[in-house]
Amino acid sequence: MSIPELIIQTWPRLLAGLGLTIQLTIISLIIGGILGLVFGLLSVSKKKAMRAIAVVYVDIVRGTPLIVQAFFIYFGIPAATGIRLDPNLAGIIALSLNAGGYLAEIFRGGIESISKGQMEAARSLGLPYGMAMRKVILPQAVRTMTPALINQCIITLKDTSILSVIGIQELTQTGRLIIANNYQAFQMWTIIAAMYFIIIMILSKISKRIERRMSYGKSSN
């Protein structure tokens, strides 16, 4: 069967898979972003215990493969506690924790890239630490972090495909299921790859535009 014919035949399922992929990505990035911010802030804390918590979290995330993290949450935890998680929920937890670890490092790097003088100037005006962080350091840090943040969005989008191993019917799993019926592996994987590729290219284009608009004195206010 030709690729156009396959697309016509399978597009509702492909779109549903793509939709779930995008949903998983967005939800995980939002939760991961919050985790990343919190643990990023912990990792620049003056208190050693706070920094230690962040180090442990980041090291666990970076030191284990995502597929193992997903298996642990979906199979491991229920085996120990008897609580079964919905696969989509388990997938979101795994992906959020994973993205959160990498985002924590991105936040730490962004915050540390801002000169110490900025925090000192803000504090010398009487601003409390949290307010100085929120209004002076983070807005500048996020600017420098933008390329890394967008890169992480792309990585998380691609990582959703790993969640196919716990049976989530995102785009990759959808492809597998279709092929199990029609045996058109070459054409189907071409279509699936193209779909990822197009989405990621669109993301990259948007990110380039954001980066360009980010320089001081143009769009910011």
Binding site: A121, S124, L125, G126, L127, P139, Y216
Partner: protein
């Protein structure tokens, strides 16, 4: 009573004892210039006065408040202690006007309108009225430092600390910043200025303090320190810089 009273101040970084026993009283409206060799502890002393560094021992009182022991209130006390840095440290993501009005607004000391009106007035004082809506990166070093002074003044501080405010400037811009500081001194601001500008110290300071190896070695009116220094180390230092 002194505006700033420093008693037996010691400060170490690890094994390095930078300030060994500093005693200093600064009166209201007094202008103090601190001079000394690089690494002698001038910045550290200044930074202890607004608790950017924590004293290892001793006390620093500003306006009757002991800032060394009072970490709960340090944010409040700092509002009354302006600081100007060598590297300006303006906020690059804010316009000049926002740089100046931001802290009073955020700390709810003024409404936005009041703070901006005050900012415009301060910009007039530092002769940069027309730069209100540009970003710091579009300003020269001298202009940035004048904005930084205005930003500190926006908090209506009782004391102003300057840490080598002209050292990062091209020579032709030093004058404009010193002129603003001189005007401020003449208006009666209490000022503590770490500087290598001996001309400024001679002309503007009420008292010059020479620091060496963590001690105040000699102090007095500029005519004494520059005209008739007593301590050998002061003499050596002045021979090098004058």
């Amino acid at each position: 009573m002194g505006k700033v009273v420093i008693k037996n101040l010691k400060k170490s970084f690890g094994d390095l004892e930078v300030l060994k026993d500093i005693n200093l009283e600064v009166c209201e409206r007094e202008v103090i210039c601190i001079i000394g060799a690089s690494g002698s502890g001038k910045s550290t002393l200044l930074r202890c006065i607004n608790a950017l560094e924590d004293a290892s021992s001793g006390t620093v009182e500003v306006d009757g408040h002991d800032i060394t022991g009072a970490h709960a209130d340090i944010n409040k006390y700092r509002q009354d202690i302006g600081m100007v840095f060598q590297q300006f440290n303006l906020f690059p993501h804010m316009t000049v006007l926002q740089n100046i009005s931001f802290a009073p607004i955020s700390l709810k000391l003024k409404t936005k309108e009041e703070a901006q009106a005050k900012a415009h007035e301060l910009l007039k004082r530092v002769d940069l009225e027309e730069k209100a809506n540009v970003y710091p990166e579009q300003l020269s070093g001298g202009q940035q430092q004048r904005v930084a002074i205005a930003r500190a003044l926006a908090m209506e501080p009782d004391v102003m600390l300057f840490d080598e405010p002209t050292s990062a400037l091209d020579p032709e811009m030093v004058g404009e910043v010193l002129a603003v500081m001189k005007k401020l001194a003449n208006e009666g601001m209490t000022m503590i200025v770490v500087t290598h500008e001996m001309g400024f110290a001679k002309e503007v300071a009420d008292r010059v303090i020479f620091i060496d190896e963590g001690y105040i070695v000699e102090q007095g009116p500029p005519s004494e320190i520059f005209g008739n220094p007593k301590n050998e180390r002061t003499i050596n230092f002045l021979n090098k810089v004058l």
